[in-house]
Symmetry: C2
Subunit: 333 residues, 2 copies
């Protein structure tokens, strides 16, 4: 429950204020400050560098939206905030707001909403140059989100007794998907493709995981660069949703051409039910693609099957990467 | 229920997308289009001028946030949308989004949330010049919101058998509060004070109500212009929350000096409980004032009592203006 009005028109008209308040609280790290002890406004202001008036009003708002609790003059974390917003929690998701509510993306979505509904898309993310630092910020911000999914992918590989020796990670970003596979398969070699500045993040994460000598990178646009061939496993994590079906078929075809005999392609993506209005998180995702890409979408499983057939691939299995809202689809030639 | 994720960090981080989607749907008047019959994507696109892709994705998102319902390929209004968003409904609130999510205000709140928490306020609305057309837009946008409250105020006047002959409406905006009083009291004369361009909206509303010969206006800043004296009723509707307590005492003192013997001051405002975290809508309002004014606030009833005492006024009665989230406080000398 995070309503600020029982009237849905008011609540939704004002919903952007919730994003703003959460963003301010994360940037001032109010949740970690309160995580140690219940604190007064004066103490929170002192620890976080906020003003008394600003902290008092922000913390009261955070109580309204269910992230804090107030007992006379002391603020405490709600159960959700303790788990997901206190930086000492292993489940902390605080950094995801740097991607989900990045100023560049918020602006694309909220500045002129009728425009992309009328046009059927927006240049959006494609206007950001490949070497923009924003891609590095995004790669970093999505680590809490991706690390959970990455562990589920290795569970899938273990369950199926797969032993990929060569792994290709397309639009690797933070690199966590390929890195987790290499962690699990002790002789697997990973090739990651992404923009050069983003690959620095992936390489650092690979180094931190002790994989420097099994981790290689190729910089450039996944549509244009040579992927190489004979990979046992090709990962397409959260990339296809940015493109129209022709673009997806193009990338799936490149994947097929780069596979070893009996190799697998893993599409990791956000896949709504056939009705396209459930589950909420997956169904809602298409709107983000409408507002921030020319022709991206949240494709259904049936659409992925159609696209993969056009690329010469067959869906062989799938798994929801719970508790995230991503799904793994496994394809083979 | 308008959640797009069961995880509150994701849901709140993405809440601004809900505002954007509602805004697009209202601007394309999708709710009124669907209000007549259940429609397909193709029909909605045809009626509203949206693209097929844009309308399909927007309507699916509106299903996720509870404003539409989808039955195979037909979209219908939810109960809430039928009541509050179809322009043929007498309860339609669609226009309020032009104020609640006005681009000027969204930008103040969402562009740099830590800034106003650290500073304890923002120049915000005070940076907008008095003759900006935005004030006219705001006055118009708040009519659905104000008209309900205005009718409750006249009910209060009737209940107390008040017969104000002279009414002063400070920062009148759309003018509806003074206009409803003049509608109810057949010989009441109204003086409205606001910026000149906003008064055009109030005068037009007074004309439409057939009150042209009982409606006078004075343009200017309420802190600076002469209010005149001997008013039986002085209205301070949704103005005090923009200022600090000194500013409120200043305006309440001017009100006291302009009252007739036995006259009443009505403060109509958004007043949270003493705990400042309930009810949700009233408590959340302070955050909007933090982000958009230097020192405004959602004052509690006790604070209004303290401020009115400093101005030589006494609280004599109050009423919640249900179903709105505003409260009427009546003061006398």
């Amino acid at each position: 429950m995070n309503k600020i009005s029982n009237n849905p028109v008011y609540d939704i008209s004002l919903s952007y204020q919730k994003t703003a308040a959460l963003n301010a609280a994360i940037k001032l790290d109010i949740f970690t400050a309160i995580g140690k002890h219940c604190l007064t406004v004066e103490q929170i202001a002192d620890v976080t560098g906020g003003s008394l008036r600003g902290v008092r009003i922000l913390c009261d708002f955070l109580c309204v939206i269910g992230l804090l609790e107030k007992n006379t003059n002391l603020y405490n974390l709600s159960v959700d905030a303790k788990r997901f917003l206190d930086r000492t929690s292993p489940h902390c998701l605080a950094d995801v707001i740097d991607f989900l509510a990045a100023p560049e993306i918020v602006s694309m979505i909220i500045d002129d909403p009728p425009s992309y509904v009328i046009a059927g898309g927006a240049s959006g993310l494609t206007k950001i140059s490949p070497d923009s630092p924003v891609w590095v910020k995004f790669a970093r911000a999505m680590i809490p989100f991706a690390s959970v999914a990455a562990k589920r992918i290795t569970a899938y590989i273990a369950k199926k007794a797969m032993q990929p020796r060569t792994v290709l990670d397309i639009a690797a970003g933070h690199g966590l998907f390929g890195i987790e596979v290499a962690n699990a398969i002790s002789d697997a070699l990973v090739m990651a493709i992404d923009w050069d500045n983003v690959l620095e993040v992936a390489r650092r994460n690979a180094d931190l995981a002790g994989l420097a000598n099994r981790y290689k990178t190729t910089s450039g646009n996944a549509f244009e660069v040579d992927w190489g061939d004979n990979y046992d496993l090709i990962l397409l994590p959260n990339i296809l949703h940015h493109f129209d079906q022709d673009g997806c078929v193009h990338l799936l075809s490149k994947a097929k051409d780069s596979l070893s005999i009996d190799g697998s392609v893993f599409v990791i993506d956000i896949i709504p039910n056939p009705d396209r209005v459930s589950p909420p998180e997956q169904a809602a995702f298409a709107f983000r693609m409408l507002a921030t890409t020319p022709k991206g979408d949240a494709y259904t499983c049936a659409e992925y099957e159609t696209m993969s057939r056009a690329a010469g691939l067959t869906l062989v299995d799938s798994m929801q990467l719970l508790p995230t809202h991503q799904t793994l689809l496994e394809f083979k030639v």
